[in-house]
């Protein structure tokens, strides 16, 4: 008897920031309506972009002029949390979308973060990095953050759906990151950079200057999520209806100034 839970997995995609966020919400809607299975996806951002948390003020967090001059996009997420610089080469992002009533998912929010983050910890172990979960929702290698994660729980249709998305740092350019985030010039001192280097790390750093290609990272993440959630992954694509809704969310929400600049 085969009672292994089958989830959908979407292939690694590269999109602009508004499309990336619109796809997450379109999938969330369709899972809530019972139209598609629980889903895992990995993606990259081109152009590179800053995503800010739902409650953040774009004016407080983002150096908008620097973003414009460096062709870095800005988007507001539907999840809380902090501002993230998604460098095209520097990180890989994932989303896990699952019905809230799935028996695998703990009711306790931090425990649910821990379960899903364990998939990333397995993936990092796969490429030779020892990492652990740090509540509320970080993953650290040694004492340094290597992955940040955020959840929302929404019910646009019949069921509540959990969306957890997060980023895994592949390579880190702190100066570039600070040039697009709102940190005062005085603060971008060598001392601050040193301090951040003590708190944040990347796959490249942990592996002694070795870069891991995106395909390998994607495969490791998929295996990691499959293991932590005890699921089988079936490769598929977005449905026509999801694509259509994602286009709508991109135009009316994530790509619209009133959403990005609402706080």
């Amino acid at each position: 008897m085969n009672n292994v839970d089958v989830w959908r997995v979407l292939d690694l995609e590269t999109n602009d920031c508004a499309t990336n966020m619109a796809i997450d919400e379109a999938i969330l809607f369709h899972i809530s309506e019972g139209k598609v299975p629980n889903t895992i996806r990995t993606y990259r951002w081109n152009p590179s972009a800053v995503s800010i948390g739902y409650f953040q003020s774009v004016y407080e967090e983002v150096n908008i002029e620097a973003c414009q001059s460096k062709s870095v996009d800005v988007v507001r997420r539907i999840t809380g949390g902090g501002a993230v610089y998604h460098d095209y080469e520097g990180e890989i992002t994932y989303s896990v979308l699952v019905r809230d009533n799935d028996p695998k998912i703990p009711k306790d929010i931090i425990k649910s973060y821990q379960l899903i983050c364990q998939g990333i910890i397995y993936a990092l172990a796969d490429i030779g990095i020892d990492a652990t979960f740090k509540p509320i929702n970080d993953i650290i290698a040694g004492t340094k953050k290597i992955s940040g994660n955020a959840q929302t729980r929404r019910k646009p249709g019949k069921d509540i759906v959990i969306l957890q998305h997060g980023t895994i740092l592949r390579d880190l350019d702190i100066k570039k990151m600070f040039s697009v985030l709102r940190v005062s010039k005085e603060k971008i001192s060598d001392k601050l950079i040193e301090q951040v280097e003590q708190r944040v790390t990347s796959i490249r750093r942990e592996l002694g200057d070795k870069l891991v290609d995106f395909e390998t990272l994607k495969n490791s993440l998929e295996r990691g999520f499959s293991k932590t959630l005890s699921i089988q992954l079936e490769r598929s694509t977005l449905t026509e209806s999801e694509r259509k809704l994602a286009t709508e969310f991109k135009e009316k929400k994530y790509g619209a100034k009133d959403w990005v600049f609402k706080r």
Partner: protein, 95 residues
């Protein structure tokens, strides 16, 4: 009059408030909480902000509104607590 305050919650997240009062500093005209905390459902932050608008500047009244809001069982917050919302609001208005 526009006032601001912020707090890094120990072991938690950063929470900021921008609050606008009338010229006599007698009531709140506008208020916005920002930061990297987590709250589900996210949109409910507007309910909290709207319920504080028009409120007279009175800590007891702020406490009543904030407590009522977070007592609603659909509201889940991580990285900050009701007391932090109250604290920064009071700090902003006393500065």
């Amino acid at each position: 009059m526009k006032n601001k305050a912020e707090k890094k919650v120990p072991g938690g997240k950063l929470i900021r408030v921008t609050v606008e009062t009338d010229v006599t500093m007698s009531k709140i005209v506008n208020v916005m909480f920002t930061g990297d905390f987590y709250m589900h459902p996210e949109e409910e932050i507007h309910t909290l902000e709207n319920s504080l608008k028009g409120t007279k500047i009175d800590e007891k009244e702020f406490k009543r509104i904030i407590t009522n809001f977070f007592e609603n069982e659909i509201i889940q917050i991580l990285g900050a607590g009701p007391e932090d919302f109250l604290e920064i609001l009071v700090t902003a208005l006393s500065g």
